[in-house]
């Protein structure tokens, strides 16, 4: 009887595994999706997370199946219930070591009851709440899709870390600007490594932006630390005479690989100090109070507190970027002022830096900008 029970044990573990796998997989995959969404993981990362979660779910289901049905006593009890054997197997198993007439009768009875039954007689079962499981996973997938694409996946949204604003994502798509509270990646250099350069056809590409004392663009190290994104709107500042000051302040070598440094300030902000080479820091501090480390960043702060950037190349890249700064995508200087104020509050800037920035804002305001 023990040999027969052993065969049934393997079958029962398999059945239990198949029964529990959907729920485990649903929980793991949903968790992975949510975690990937919260963490802003790239597409490859999401794929890896899904595969890993599926593996974890399989292991968990197998572990649970083994623990719930793995013991031979449990197997006997389960078979008693499934085949309607009236506790024959469980009793026979328990008293199999007894050497009396009743125990031998019970054992013979159990053998007879189990004879003719095969492990295949134990059918696979669907989970009790399969519909709910499938529905739940579908809901999580849909919700993950509705919340929005991750910053790494979207080529039109830019992780922004302005001098005043700190962590914020400024979506630049369609010429409109919107703020999202999604935190920017901690490794700003890596996250902003890919920049998009406006080409004459309106396509976006990648172009390095070099600081004054930065190495050449073909230097891999410098490319990693200084490459910035140049959105389509980057050239619009050239149309605004007030932005010429910012462009001058930026002192970005014109025509440096045709790069546009326009939005760098609002995307990078104070984080630039950490990403820039240490040797550049004094230059940046001279202008920005230590908040940026590259000229491209410094040029931003000469504009409206990092809200607006400037470009190294003042020439427009597209017609749509020729709009005035006072009303571009609904962002008025007053709104920019408010935004900078709220960013100061939100980011808990150090007191000296906050004073500096406030003074800077007041100076701009008194200059008639807002």
């Amino acid at each position: 009887m023990l040999a027969q029970l052993e065969r049934f044990r393997r079958r029962l573990i398999l059945v239990a595994f198949v029964k529990r796998l959907p729920l485990s997989a649903a929980i793991a995959v949903s968790g992975a999706l949510v975690a990937a969404r919260i963490g802003g993981v790239q597409a490859n990362g999401v794929l890896i997370a899904l595969v890993t979660s599926a593996l974890v779910a399989s292991l968990a289901a197998a572990s649970i199946a083994y623990r719930r049905t793995g013991r031979i006593v449990q197997v006997a009890a389960t078979l008693d219930g499934r085949f309607g054997l009236a506790n024959r197997l469980a009793t026979a198993l328990q008293f199999s070591g007894d050497d009396d007439g009743v125990a031998s009768l019970i054992s013979a009875d159990a053998d007879a009851a189990l004879r003719g039954r095969r492990p295949q007689d134990v059918p696979f079962e669907a989970p009790r709440h399969l519909a709910w499981i499938v529905g739940g996973v579908a809901a999580v997938v849909v919700a993950a899709g509705l919340v929005g694409k991750s910053p790494a996946d979207t080529d039109t949204s830019v992780s922004s870390r302005g001098v005043l604003g700190g962590a914020a994502n400024a979506s630049m798509s369609d010429g409109r600007r919107s703020l999202a509270s999604t935190p920017a990646p901690s490794n700003v250099s890596a996250a902003a490594a890919r920049v998009q350069q406006a080409d004459p056809n309106g396509q976006r590409g990648i172009a390095p932006v070099r600081s004054n004392n930065a190495p050449a663009a073909d230097d891999p190290l410098s490319r990693q630390t200084t490459v910035r994104e140049a959105p389509t709107q980057s050239a619009d500042s050239a149309a605004d005479p007030r932005q010429a000051r910012a462009a001058d302040a930026a002192r970005t070598p014109p025509g440096s690989s045709g790069a546009a440094a326009g939005r760098v300030g609002e995307r990078r902000g104070s984080a630039g100090a950490s990403s820039a080479p240490r040797s550049e820091a004094p230059t940046a501090r001279a202008d920005l109070g230590g908040s940026v480390g590259a000229n491209a960043l410094r040029s931003t702060t000469t504009r409206a507190g990092g809200v607006r950037g400037t470009t190294a190349d003042p020439s427009p890249t597209s017609d749509t970027d020729q709009r005035p700064i006072t009303n571009r995508g609904g962002m008025t200087p007053a709104a920019a002022w408010d935004r900078a104020e709220s960013a100061i509050e939100r980011e808990h800037l150090p007191l000296d830096l906050r004073t500096y920035v406030r003074g800077y804002l007041v100076a701009i305001k008194s200059g008639g900008l807002p």
């Binding site: 219930g81 009236a86 506790n87 469980a90 009793t91 026979a92 007439g101 009743v102 031998s104």
Partner: protein, 332 residues
């Protein structure tokens, strides 16, 4: 005592045959309600005592008398009244004169020394008299004037009580109720059974059960029932049921928490185990199954569940509570 498998099979066959013939023989006199007859026989073969509850005229006394007739056992009937004294049950010392003219005290055995004792309307006896049954039922012996007298086996007390007429009665205390193996409710027969009863009892000759077995046969079957095995899982199922009758136990269902003041004692579990073993033997098994437990649990639990005031006000019976416990217990 360990017996060979063949011997056990033979005795089990005798038990089933004996049980079936008794059931048939009782059925010749007592019409209908086969489950009541089965419960009574299971109780008897488990050396238990039963409390038969039902309105007057449903054949409670007839059922017990028929059982003793069918088994050729000594039968005694005690009609309990408020003036019934303990000595009327246990017996007493009488002054007797010997052949040589010498007078001395001799113990005169009471009706409790019969094999089957029918205590009719036991709740009409005073608590003092009811207590006289206690030692006999539990210890199977009687102590009179400092002398202990053993009661011969087989011995079972079958008491009856009327659940309707409560005036002038002394409800049995919980301690005494607990000593009854089963409480068997006798229901009103349906029309067909009533018609059969009329036919049998209003004719020229009333049917009588014929003797089938001797006391020795019964005694030999007692040990067989106790040899039936019970698995741990089934035993724990029984204990779960018993614990679930206690309102403060974590296993207690809502109906128990709401309506029960005190639950069943370990004697209830003993009764369920023994009765389940007998039921298993009747089903040609040598081990207890959960179905056996379910078949006997209500009869073993319902008189051991002490209801609270809410249950009495809402007329929730102990049997309903016991069924609620059964239905809420997890299946094995």
């Amino acid at each position: 005592m360990s017996l060979a498998a063949a011997d056990i099979q033979t005795r089990a066959a005798i038990f089933r045959d004996c049980f079936g013939r008794l059931k048939t023989e009782i059925g010749r006199v007592f019409v209908g309600q086969p489950s009541v007859v089965e419960q009574l026989l299971v109780c008897f073969f488990c050396q238990g005592h039963a409390l038969l509850e039902g309105p007057p005229g449903l054949g409670k006394t007839l059922l017990v008398r028929t059982l003793s007739d069918a088994m050729n056992l000594q039968f005694a009937r005690v009609q309990c009244t408020p003036d019934l004294m303990p000595a009327d049950i246990t017996g007493t010392q009488l002054l007797v004169e010997g052949h040589d003219g010498v007078r001395s005290f001799a113990f005169q055995r009471g009706p409790i020394f019969a094999n089957i004792v029918l205590a009719d309307e036991i709740n009409r006896a005073t608590p003092r008299t009811q207590a006289a049954f206690l030692e006999a039922m539990q210890e199977r012996r009687v102590t009179v004037f400092g002398t202990t007298h053993r009661i011969d086996e087989p011995f079972s007390v079958f008491a009856t009580q009327n659940p309707i007429e409560m005036e002038g009665t002394y409800p049995l205390p919980e301690a005494q109720l607990d000593r009854f193996f089963f409480k068997i409710r006798i229901q009103m027969p349906d029309v067909d059974d009533l018609a059969e009863i009329m036919m049998r009892t209003t004719g020229e000759e009333a049917p009588r059960a014929s003797s089938q077995f001797s006391a020795d046969t019964v005694l030999s079957l007692y040990g067989l029932i106790r040899q039936v095995k019970i698995a741990d899982s089934v035993l724990r199922y029984i204990l779960h049921l018993v614990r679930a009758t206690h309102p403060d136990a974590p296993e207690a269902p809502a109906i128990v928490k709401k309506y029960v003041r005190y639950g069943a004692s370990p004697r209830a579990a003993q009764s369920i185990v023994l009765a389940s073993k007998a039921t298993a033997l009747l089903a040609s098994r040598y081990h207890v199954a959960t179905d056996d437990v379910r078949n006997v649990a209500v009869a073993a639990l319902n008189h051991r569940i002490i209801r609270n005031f809410t249950a009495e006000m809402e007329r929730v019976t102990a049997e309903e509570i016991a069924r609620g416990v059964l239905s809420s217990a997890p299946a094995l």
